[in-house]
């Protein structure tokens, strides 16, 4: 109880520090700390799946994306710290207004009974033992299918910013790690372990906490480390194998969903073969999520830049 109160206090304090205008770099650092603390809060609530996703994607991946955005802003500002030209008062008032409206709407809602009982009743027909995976890939497959498409759309958005001359080049800026340096050594030590943890998280997701998003993020981190250590060059954005890896997840998911029409409806999974179907979808989704996330961090092709 005391731990929970301290945790809540720290989450609020760090959130306040993130938005209180200490500069964009500090704001991002506090955002990452906030993600780690929120992930601990999810752990305290026994929501291990959410905690894993929050730590991997909310704190880790989003933090890296924001940090690279800060670095880009500073480069645009000519090397110095980027200054925000936002009028704080209207922005603060608008944010407070939205927060107030959300709280009002939340308090106006009827007390939720939760869907735990329904999920538990339907779990034997889901094909997997982890109720979270059952909801994500079976009961509410729609949401997950659309999420995977949204991820792909985000990457298309990033790639759309590529300069015409750079199209078809390797994703991101040219990486230059010192040959034989510490980063290169790290890039040789960590990937085997990272691969094991990533694949384990996906496999374990059928019975316990884990799944395609958590495992895919770990695999994306492995790919990024390899690219940044200069051990494996980033792929060319036009490579057919890369495009195939990007669409594999949504395509397989959609294919299984359409096949479900023969069974009784879009995205319906027959209970007898639900488990192999879910594992197939998760395997393809993991590949696509890992590749998409890694490419989101690498950014648009900029072969001339960063040299």
């Amino acid at each position: 109880m005391l731990l929970d109160v301290i945790l809540c206090g720290m989450i609020l304090a760090v959130a306040l520090a993130a938005v209180s205008g200490l500069g964009v770099f500090r704001a991002v650092v506090f955002f990452v700390v906030h993600g780690v603390l929120v992930s601990m809060a999810w752990l305290r609530l026994d929501a291990v799946d959410v905690a894993l996703a929050e730590a991997a994607i909310g704190a880790g991946l989003t933090g890296v994306l924001l940090l690279s955005a800060v670095a880009r802003l500073e480069r645009l500002a000519g090397g110095g710290a980027w200054r925000q030209r936002v009028n704080v008062l209207p922005a603060g008032l608008a944010a407070a207004g939205v927060t107030g409206a959300l709280m009002w709407a939340f308090l106006g809602l009827p007390q939720p009974a939760g869907l735990g009982a329904e999920v538990a009743a339907a779990l034997p027909r889901a094909g997997v033992e982890n109720p979270v995976t059952a909801v994500l890939l079976n009961f509410r497959g729609w949401d997950t299918l659309l999420e995977s498409v949204v991820l792909l759309a985000a990457l298309v958005g990033v790639w759309a910013l590529t300069a015409d001359d750079d199209w078809g080049a390797r994703a991101g800026v040219a990486q230059h790690a010192a040959p034989g340096g510490v980063l290169e050594g790290f890039g040789r030590v960590l990937p085997p372990l990272g691969l094991m943890v990533g694949v384990y998280l996906v496999w374990a997701g059928a019975a316990g906490p884990g799944g395609a998003f958590q495992g895919g993020t770990v695999l994306a981190a492995v790919a990024l480390l390899l690219a940044m250590a200069g051990l494996a060059p980033a792929p060319r954005v036009g490579a057919p194998a890369l495009r195939l890896a990007l669409v594999a997840g949504p395509a397989v998911f959609l294919g299984v969903g359409v096949a479900g029409l023969a069974w009784g409806g879009f995205l319906r999974l027959p209970p007898d073969i639900a488990k192999p179907l879910i594992l197939t979808i998760e395997a393809a989704l993991t590949l696509s999520i890992a590749v998409t996330l890694a490419l989101l961090v690498l950014g648009r092709p900029e072969p001339g830049d960063g040299a």
């Binding site: 510490v182 980063l183 050594g185 790290f186 030590v189 960590l190």
Partner: protein
Amino acid sequence: MIDALDGIDGLRDAASMALTGLGLAFFVAGTLGLVRFPDSFSRLHALTKADNLGLGFLALGLALQADHWGQVLRLALIWGLALIAAGIAAQLVARAALAEAARRRR
């Protein structure tokens, strides 16, 4: 407290508390260094060395409470990975700080 320290379980709990307490002391020392030390290199020194030791003591203290060897191995793996990651990150940050200092001098 006295009752809880009875027997081998009590001894184990006491050792866990002592070790995690020691670990926390190292974390506090490392954080003090991070806040108070004057430049990037000494701050890195405080952060990586003190915190790595602190995490080691925490892992040791928790390992005493493990139900089976798998958990001990996992704790050791976590500590080892954190050690490697902190060491590498410290090297990279120090190199970036050196490059930044050289750029400023020019």
